[in-house]
Symmetry: C2
DNA sequence: ATTCAACCTGCGGTTTACCACAGGTTGAGT
DNA sequence: ACTCAACCTGTGGTAAACCGCAGGTTGAAT
């Protein structure tokens, strides 16, 4: 329904053409086999595959199309993480469609883009980028732990899956708590789900 | 963005007119003060107020307009809960817009409506409604506990807020686990968030 | 070669979540 | 008066999450 809506809105812009749509990550990959895209709009909350996983596979198998993540949330820790994984843009769903159209053009011209009206831009200029990353951005290992936690696994199970000790999972979780400022497991899960780490949402 | 999309799609149907839109629950209530609506489309995942809370207040203060809940998920336990709280329709976002339009007409004519292609309809006919409810549908107390849990509160905190013993919170949680078939706290939180119980998603 | 960050781990110990057992209240319906 | 469902609560115990302390590895950059 969301897809139908966005597509019908994008059709109002004569400079853009929608060459395909997909209900989930694996459909997307199939579509890209037959058609070439300049820009891919990737919803973070998807069924079948998580946004993170889809992005990873997408960048590996189809390096050409540029990617804009579309999300309900806008957390610096998460936004930066998606850029590190190869995204070129990040747009919260709260934006007007005009902003989205602008972003599509910008990203198509080899630019990067995230909603500039936000605090992140300011922070990236003020403090050194590195310091910011070490303080707020989740490492890929941490994202992995968070993802598995969001999918209902216990620390022990996560440790088993990643072939690390339960203690190490706790260690990563502690760091996630520090970086995100969250305090309870409930908050952690809620945070993860809203940011697109979840089995089949 | 989602709203803009839906509205542009609904405009294609000459029998419908969109008389207003709102970004969250309290905006909705303000809008209804000045304009009368036949049907309200209420997204379950909203900022500021949860879907449940908005529905409750809406039904109290504006009993006339009929309400269709729009959600990513479709869990019998939750769907039935929303009907009990006064909703008249329930549409998953995965549906085509045609289904939504159909639903709007149906609900406007004083009918109730949920996606008939689903298992729920079958179940409601087969087993007695009462048995179904006792087995699957969350009571209002249980929903309240789940909501507070999704907002990051511990059992102790929840007990404090609802003025009941911590033990009683555990009791309700156990029942939620039984009714939903979930097993871990992570699953529980994920379930709640996806179904519109969450602080400001 | 050294430094540094990210990763990994073990040993306690505390807190929180959960569960089995056992029971009390209250209000609506027969 | 009785039933029944939903609600509430205590005791005591297990498992899971979390935390401080203390330390080891590895790979990339200076």
């Amino acid at each position: 329904m969301f897809r139908q809506g966005i597509i019908s809105l994008l059709k109002f812009d004569p400079g853009l053409s929608v060459i395909g749509e997909a209900a989930n990550g694996s459909e997307l990959l199939k579509t890209l086999n037959s058609r070439q895209a300049d820009v891919v709009l990737l919803d973070i909350q998807m069924p079948v595959m998580t946004g993170t996983q889809t992005l990873e596979v997408l960048r590996q198998r189809f390096p050409d199309p540029r990617v804009i993540m579309v999300s309900m949330e806008f957390n610096p820790s998460i936004v930066a993480m998606y850029f590190e994984k190869g995204a070129h843009g990040f747009i919260p769903k709260g934006c007007d469609v005009e902003v989205l159209v602008e972003a599509i053009y910008k990203v198509k011209e080899n630019g990067n883009c995230y909603d500039l009206s936000t605090e992140l831009a300011a922070r990236l200029n003020k403090h050194s980028l590195e310091n910011f990353e070490n303080t707020y951005v989740l490492s890929s290992r941490e994202v992995e732990v968070l993802r598995l936690a969001c999918q209902g696994n216990s620390n022990k199970q996560i440790g088993h899956m990643l072939r690390i000790a339960e203690r190490t999972v706790e260690f990563h979780k502690t760091n996630i708590y520090l970086k995100t400022g969250l305090k309870s497991l409930s908050d952690l899960i809620a945070y993860g789900i809203k940011n697109g780490l979840g089995s089949c949402n």
